[in-house]
Symmetry: C2
Subunit: 315 residues, 2 copies
């Protein structure tokens, strides 16, 4: 069964790949052993794909940008998997803007695979199994895996566990808004792209690029941050983005990836710990919640009591 | 010692309050017992303050807005504590925009207390001890506690553990960017304020308000979301914001607060669990990381091995 699924993935069968991703994303315990077997098989055979995260604030044009670089990669002979955020799953009903057809051209390419993220992907793009879904895509022959991530919150910090290269898209005129970005977001971006540089916005975009240019930093000790101006819609600046991608892909990433895997491992162990112990202490948590409801313990007292219990049980 | 600190806080001594907040934010184990004692003393004497979170994307004018409503609250006879994000701590060196004087007028009021968040506040405004720092402010006699939070990430979801009322600031023209917001951010906002409605932006702001108006939702089952237009800079629309604040403050919040405290308790237990068990399994984690480095275990294999270990140790 897993053997057949593995064969299907390796043969480039998209349905097999989609089924495998669903299995790996599943929280059902009976799927866990099978998912493990599949992942270990895949890990044995795959080479590392170049994993790129495209991130930025809402409305900056991430999906248009991803389509543009995806199509350019396909033209260069690459195979591209896009793990995207499904806007419909982000709003209740998804009806505010209606259904946009996202990445329609890229979706028609035989060399591309687009997968919208699942509904339980709360944090805008990176989940605890993102590394695994990327590996499945690699096993299916995709040499570039692109994650679309949203916003500047948790998923921005989780991105560094998953992606080789981080591209941050910015709005023209957003230089002054820098003060609101937290340290990590800018410092981890290998490439800043001021997008939407078309029509009247072009001059403003160039101005924004210059305001960032004076604050460029080293990212990962092997890469000096670059700042480009582009319009994913018109194609302006996309060749320069492709050059940066290609140069980054030619770096020796072995040490970087080892460090990233170690960070990923620590991050995942924390997650496993949390769910395991929460399950183990569920009765105690329930009883303390009842005490809070009855008013016999204040929230502060209940938490201190839990802290004591945790130490009694685990020390 | 704690008795004196408690007395100082109750007497309205700002230095005592600041020292207490530093103590509660400290991760030093020797401060833990003292912090617990202080918090339990405070919890016994305080009434619930109205806790407001002011949130929104970078550059939307959060600190100007907070200053405007803070000054208006003081004029109404309230005492206001603001737990704000220090922009200097968010960027390396903090020098990109230079030092802005934030909330200077509010800072001069004897009825207001402004505390920039600590440097280790990575997630833009809400930390695991935010409830506690709010309680200390309440014990010092502040009847309104305002948290400034940044961005649309983790702190946006954590806000619901802390705040009674959530105010989301929006840029004029940002209606189309809605698709990028994740479900929770909009749905949990009691009040949307399209800020910066001055000069040429006023008409656009009004248009943005209308685009949100058709999608208003119930928040917390007792409050229909409101959408207002304001300019914190000119004061336009601030009286309407104050009306909304005052009406919200007159609601019966008992049930809401109980539900929120229960969510807060679950959230905090998860955090305690994570740090405790990570400490307990530190040797195993270290040894698996070494196996990964030597290449005897792949990342996937190491994680599965850890999962087994976790079950062996805790079952």
């Amino acid at each position: 069964m897993i053997k057949d699924l593995f064969k299907g993935i390796r043969a480039g069968d998209r349905f097999a790949l989609s089924r495998a991703i669903t299995m790996v994303e599943s929280k059902r315990p009976d799927q866990r052993a099978e998912a493990q077997e599949l992942l270990i098989r895949c890990e044995e055979v795959v080479k590392n794909p170049l994993v790129v995260s495209v991130t930025g604030p809402p409305g900056v044009g991430k999906s248009t940008f991803i389509e543009a670089i995806g199509l350019a990669l396909v033209e260069q002979g690459h195979r591209v998997a896009v793990l995207s955020v499904d806007p419909a799953s982000q709003m209740s009903g998804g009806s505010i803007l209606g259904d946009k057809t996202r990445m329609a051209m890229l979706g028609r390419s035989a060399q591309a695979y687009i997968r919208p993220s699942s509904n339980n992907n709360q944090y805008g793009g990176i989940t605890t199994v993102s590394r695994e879904t990327g590996m499945l895509c690699a096993a299916a022959g995709y040499d570039h895996v692109i994650f679309e991530t949203v916003g500047i919150g948790q998923s921005e910090s989780d991105v560094r566990f998953i992606a080789d290269m981080v591209i941050l898209l910015l709005q023209p005129g957003s230089g002054d808004e820098l003060q609101g970005y937290k340290r990590g977001v800018l410092e981890q971006a290998h490439l800043l792209v001021v997008n939407k540089a078309d029509g009247e916005q072009q001059q403003l975009a160039e101005h924004t690029r210059l305001s960032f240019e004076t604050n460029r930093m080293m990212v990962d000790q092997i890469w000096q941050q670059r700042i480009l101006v582009a319009s994913a819609l018109s194609g302006y600046g996309i060749p320069e983005v492709m050059n940066a991608l290609s140069e980054f892909g030619q770096l020796d990433l072995v040490e970087l990836r080892l460090a990233r895997e170690q960070d990923w491992f620590r991050w995942r162990t924390e997650d496993l710990i949390r769910s395991k112990v929460a399950e183990m202490l569920a009765p105690e948590i329930k009883s303390l919640l009842q005490d809070m409801e009855k008013g016999t313990l204040s929230p502060t007292q209940a938490l201190f009591r839990f802290d004591e219990l945790l130490h009694e049980r685990l020390d």
